[in-house]
């Protein structure tokens, strides 16, 4: 597949941009509570996120469960509706125009966490892959290729050779790794610019993961496809990401080049996450107590402050920022070149001002 339309690597115009994104899930109120005037609580899954994805780069979205990374990815894919905020594709806002949305849906594809569940067990491999073509009404390739040639090419590209051997197979006849390759082929058949991968290898056997990751990196190298990889595994980010964004309770708290963020982290949460990655000989390592709070009840001030080691050990107080940590919400400030973090203490130590928080949600229309 010729990468004719894709922007050249190295160009600095983002292919995907997210501005001020807020995604909320409404809670429910029982009848009695509703009658008493209690309003339904809403979980702020994504609470003000700005993000850029550049052509040909791999951006890892890391964090624990509940941080909003999956919701952010799904909203980008159009599977969730944002409460407010905008998504820009190739510089143009994603309006409600169906034509634009269809085009978007063709050029931004998703790879799923559980390849077994993501394939219709009653459809053959061929049909699962051809589905994308059929949904978009594509029955000829750019050079006049027939549908079956496009499917064969996609399967080949995803490492399943000879491709026609797999046309009539059902998902249950393939192994986990092969099923994930089928999902990837299904994404490739539409010649996308962006692939959003939600935990692409976490449900696969450990020895099989490397090949799938190699495949994804190969797609980036050969086809210049940009990738947004959602993962809880920082080791995976180390292996394949150009940049890493760490999320906590609906916000990005640190973002920067992968090698920087993972070896010289600035935000206390990132540091804590890196400390607990298991390693040989590690005994009695420090870890955070408790669990992340509910997105329904986000703490005041810096949302990480109740668990922040810098607060509990008194470092924040000694530096005079404790008051701000407890009461002032904040956004990302550039602490090193291209390396951003949302931390009062770190901003203070770097001699810069803490950035103001992202603006609150503004309901469209």
């Amino acid at each position: 597949m010729e990468a004719l339309d894709h922007a050249r690597p190295g160009s600095r115009e983002p292919v995907l941009e997210v501005r001020d994104l807020h995604v909320r899930f409404a809670g429910r109120v029982g009848l009695g509570a509703g009658l008493m005037g209690r309003k339904p609580t809403s979980a702020r899954a994504v609470d003000g996120v700005d993000l850029e994805l550049y052509p040909g780069e791999v951006l890892a979205l890391a964090g624990e469960s509940g941080c909003g990374k999956t919701t952010l990815a799904r909203t980008i894919m159009g599977l969730e509706r944002p409460h407010s905020g905008d998504i820009y594709f190739e510089g143009k806002p994603l309006g409600r125009s169906t034509k634009m949305l269809r085009e978007y849906r063709r050029r931004v594809q998703m790879v799923f966490q559980d390849p077994t569940a993501a394939l219709n067990p009653r459809q053959t491999i061929y049909e699962s892959i051809a589905e994308g073509l059929r949904v978009h009404g594509i029955n000829r390739g750019p050079n006049g290729e027939a549908e079956e040639q496009l499917v064969a090419r996609a399967l080949s590209r995803a490492g399943m050779r000879p491709p026609e051997r797999f046309f009539l197979n059902y998902p249950h006849e393939l192994s986990g790794g092969q099923r994930q390759r089928v999902i990837i082929a299904g994404a490739l058949v539409l010649d996308p610019e962006i692939i959003v991968a939600d935990e692409p290898v976490s449900s696969l056997d450990a020895s099989v993961r490397g090949e799938i990751l190699k495949l994804l990196l190969g797609l980036r190298d050969d086809l210049n496809i940009a990738m947004l990889v959602v993962t809880h595994d920082l080791g995976l980010a180390w292996t394949i990401a150009d940049r890493v964004a760490v999320m906590y309770l609906g916000r990005i708290v640190e973002i920067g080049p992968a090698e920087e963020v993972l070896t010289r982290p600035t935000h206390p949460y990132t540091k804590a996450l890196l400390e607990v990655v298991p390693e040989a000989g590690g005994i009695d390592r420090p870890f955070l107590a408790g669990e992340p709070p509910d997105p329904i009840r986000i703490p005041e001030g810096c949302r990480f402050n109740p668990r922040c080691p810098e607060v509990t050990t008194g470092t924040a107080e000694a530096a005079g920022v404790l008051g701000r940590c407890r009461s002032q919400d904040l956004g990302l400030s550039e602490l090193r070149r291209e390396h951003f973090a949302a931390c009062h203490l770190m901003a203070h130590l770097a001699g810069t001002e803490s950035a103001p928080p992202p603006p609150p949600a503004v309901l469209k229309r």
Binding site: F112, A118, T124, V135, E173, S175, Q178
Partner: protein, 323 residues
């Protein structure tokens, strides 16, 4: 085919684009793939079905009755049913070599009536079921897929029809519009769809949330595509198994309504035969040959459908299979 037998998947460097092309002749066309898939699926189901003794027995009985109904004029002389024709015999005759099942109060051959009656009973049963299935499946799928107000509205409608007393409705309609088979088909059709609708809705709801439906949505599929390509094929087998069981119920219902005298008096079905037999006092005078054939025929047909339905249910729901 098990993983490990398909051979190593490509792990080497990805070859240049030209090497990826596969000559078109080697590839199967999409249509052939769809047919190949359907054939395989059918063969697989047939193979499992053959293993069920109950299912095979039921199928055999059904095939027998269908053949009888199809070739009725060849199997039994219609003239022996016409009281005006000389082919009929004396009234109230027990089974003999001339009339295998004996004769009724008008001298008509009960054998001929049973054979021809199969046509009516089966036709009415199948037509009513078709109506019932169509309504039930449509309502169930739309309610399950769309949810929200549509679901609530449709489900309340279903509840309303569920509690409708079908017998009373039949009697009222028959007295208003006259007695006919169409009335019977209509009544059975509109009162038996709620059961199907509920089952289909539950299944549609479950399928809707599965990841592969979400994947199709992420690909940009329209609602129509999702319903026809994903929901329907996964709900289809359930509808089919349910249909088989509903036919049994429909035939029984037709028998009941005909027995109560609501059917077309000129049409000979097993139900009307029983009606005439009872009216003529066959039970009290011991004319078993009049009651037994239609009664047994009904029992056998209903049993056959039920057995097939159970066998299909076992195939669809693996949890019911024996270890």
């Amino acid at each position: 085919m098990r993983p490990g037998t398909i051979g190593p998947t490509g792990a080497g460097p990805i070859p240049p684009v030209e090497d990826l092309e596969v000559p078109a002749e080697r590839l199967l066309s999409p249509r052939r793939i769809v047919w190949a898939r359907r054939k395989r699926a059918f063969q697989r189901t047939a193979k499992t079905y053959r293993k069920s003794k109950m299912g095979m027995a039921g199928l055999a009985i059904l095939v027998f009755f269908v053949l009888v109904a199809l070739f009725a004029p060849l199997v039994a002389d219609e003239a022996t049913m016409d009281p005006t024709s000389p082919a009929t015999g004396d009234a109230y005759q027990p089974p003999s070599s001339e009339f295998w099942f004996g004769t009724d109060n008008l001298g008509r051959s009960i054998y001929a009536m049973t054979v021809h009656g199969s046509r009516i009973s089966l036709t009415v049963g199948l037509s009513a079921t078709l109506i019932s299935m169509a309504i039930g499946a449509l309502i169930g799928i739309f309610a399950g897929y769309y949810g929200g107000w549509l679901e609530t509205g449709l489900m309340r409608l279903t509840d309303w029809f569920l509690v409708l007393p079908w017998l009373a409705l039949a009697i009222v309609l028959a007295s208003l519009l006259g007695r006919s088979l169409s009335i019977i088909i209509l009544v059975i059709g509109i009162t038996s769809w709620p059961g199907t609708a509920r089952i289909v809705r539950a299944q549609a709801l479950s399928v809707k949330t599965r990841p592969y439906v979400e994947r199709a949505r992420a690909l940009g599929a329209s609602n129509w595509h999702l319903i026809t390509r994903h929901i329907l094929p996964n709900v289809g087998p359930l509808i089919f198994a349910n249909t088989i069981l509903t036919v049994a119920i429909a035939i029984l219902s037709e028998t009941t309504l005909s027995f109560l005298g609501l059917g077309d008096p000129l049409a000979v079905s097993w139900g009307t035969m029983l009606d005439f037999a009872f009216s003529a006092g066959a039970a009290t005078t011991g004319q078993w040959w009049w009651l037994l054939p239609p009664g047994l025929a009904i029992v056998l047909v209903v049993l056959a459908f039920t057995m097939c339905g159970f066998a299909l249910d076992e195939i669809l729901n693996p949890k019911l299979r024996e270890r």
